[in-house]
């Protein structure tokens, strides 16, 4: 029996009159890659933002690494956040800093007594692991979309998190770069032994990176399971039509 890393129970969240999440239940087990699928605006990103305390739920609980996120004080929340890597949809690199400074940013603020040599070594090591060591002195504006995504992932990896949350990692990228990012996600999971949640509506990404799928429909998880189980046994027309499994099989 594997440990439960994230436990979501009866979680609800609304924005104004719009109920985005309705009594959602979800478990994430140690070492697995869970893909959360759903249409744009279905609440996928909201769910992972609640897990890191960027948003607060209206009701229900989100327990991450044994701590209920909404009940933590700022200091405890920051300690928890150090164990979670969050890769943003638009990479969220700091525009006014070079790639090196972007990577150093979380490091210098959270790891005490780090010498310059150790800091440089860590930055170079993590950049090398995403294959972009040559961009170290470049500004984010000089990078391509795929490179920005990789650097964004590298920045989260520098603190060696236990959990990785990827928000639409392949959004807006060409198919080849998407494949590179998918491979990088798998590589990160193998090298850093992370547990991941991958938010996407890209089925190729889901199939390549996910051990288990969860489909978010109308604010609830319709079903969780392996890729084939979800789509072969789908009884819900929305799952069938939206994900167009046959197209993927071809």
């Amino acid at each position: 029996m594997r440990d439960t890393v994230i436990e979501i129970r009866e979680l609800s969240k609304s924005f104004g009159d719009m109920d985005v999440l309705k009594n959602v239940d979800l478990d994430l087990f140690s070492g697995e890659n869970l893909v959360v699928l759903g249409k744009s605006g279905s609440g996928k990103s909201v769910l992972i933002k609640i897990m890191v305390g960027l948003l607060t739920q209206d009701s229900g609980t989100a327990i991450v690494l044994g701590r209920e996120v909404s009940k933590l004080n700022p200091k405890e929340l920051n300690q928890l956040r150090l164990k979670i890597g969050f890769s943003f949809q638009a990479s969220a690199l700091y525009d006014s800093m070079t790639v090196r400074e972007n990577l150093e940013f979380p490091l210098v603020r959270n790891v005490k007594n780090l010498s310059k040599v150790e800091k440089d070594k860590l930055v170079e090591e993590v950049l090398d692991s995403v294959g972009l060591l040559t961009t170290i002195n470049q500004m984010p504006s000089e990078l391509s979309g795929g490179q920005r995504k990789r650097i964004g992932i590298a920045r989260t990896l520098i603190l060696k998190p236990d959990i990785m949350l990827y928000d639409e990692p392949t959004a807006g990228l060409d198919p080849i770069t998407c494949m590179d990012i998918n491979n990088l996600i798998n590589q990160v999971n193998n090298e850093y032994k992370t547990t991941s949640i991958i938010i996407t509506h890209d089925l190729t990404c889901a199939k390549v990176t996910g051990d288990r799928m969860a489909v978010l429909l109308d604010g609830k998880f319709d079903k969780t399971g392996k890729f084939e189980e979800i789509f072969e046994d789908a009884t819900d027309g929305r799952v069938k039509s939206f994900y167009d499994y046959n197209f993927i099989k071809q």
Partner: protein, 255 residues
């Protein structure tokens, strides 16, 4: 519709008050971002020098030229250095510097933080266990509060240089005579009140820019609005503060 506007006004006021209160709490709490404060001081202070120099110089020349006809009617053009120094040190220097800085610095802070908000850079800081308020807001407000008084002193000097050139050409007044008259006319209270209100102007420019940027919404459109409203709001508040400072200084002058 009308009552909703009133509601929104008071809700906005409450949010602004909480934002300012948060600044005064966070500014004392470690860790301190000294390097970022220095970087922002450089951006706000050094990068504003060309614009401030040009504006101060022109203000000095124009104000001297415009004041001459009135004084010459009474044969009192020799009072020009005194008149200009009082006007520049007491009001023109701080006001012109603050308005220029509100346009240049305030809009830049509003747009920068606004764009960081809409591109999730602020969220990225938060999830990497860094306090974005401390890193972005506290540093910029401190830098702006420290740098505006320095820029005001510089503007005063440049405006007086511009005025001297004009007076020298027209009245053949020497440099030493000009500056002796200038320093004879201004008092300790003038300098102190000018510096104190410059501190307030600097704080206003920084906090308004940060508040507007930090609370921007609606994507890139919101960034433009944040930059624009940061300038408008800062300028409006600067004029109100100028009026208040005038009342306070006059009170002390009459003691």
């Amino acid at each position: 519709m009308f009552s909703k506007r009133i509601d929104n006004f008071f809700i906005g006021l409450e949010r602004a008050f909480k934002f300012v209160k948060k600044f005064f709490i966070e500014v004392w709490v470690p860790p301190y971002e000294f390097n970022e404060v220095i970087r922002q001081c450089y951006r706000i202070g050094y990068n504003s020098l060309p614009l401030i120099s040009l504006t101060g110089f022109i203000v000095g020349i124009v104000f001297t030229n415009q004041s001459r006809p009135s004084l010459s009617e009474f044969g009192a053009t020799s009072w020009l250095p005194s008149l200009i120094s009082i006007a520049v040190v007491r009001a023109m220097g701080p006001l012109v510097t603050a308005l220029i800085a509100a346009g240049k610095v305030g809009s830049s802070i509003g747009a920068e933080i606004g764009s960081m908000k809409v591109t999730e850079q602020i969220d990225a800081m938060e999830v990497s266990a860094t306090n974005p308020f401390k890193f972005l807001v506290v540093t910029r407000v401190l830098a702006s509060t420290f740098m505006i008084p320095i820029l005001v002193l510089y503007t005063d000097f440049i405006a007086l240089v511009g005025s001297f050139i004009n007076v020298n050409v027209n009245e053949m007044v020497s440099l030493s005579t000009f500056f002796v008259q200038v320093f004879d006319s201004i008092s300790f209270l003038d300098i102190t009140s000018s510096m104190l209100k410059s501190l307030v102007f600097g704080f206003t420019i920084g906090i308004v820019g940060c508040y507007k940027g930090y609370n921007s919404t609606k994507g890139t459109e919101g960034v433009g609005k944040a930059a624009n409203s940061a300038v408008v709001m800062a300028m409006f508040l600067i004029f109100i503060e100028e009026l208040l400072s005038l009342q306070i200084t006059t009170f002390f002058r009459q003691l």
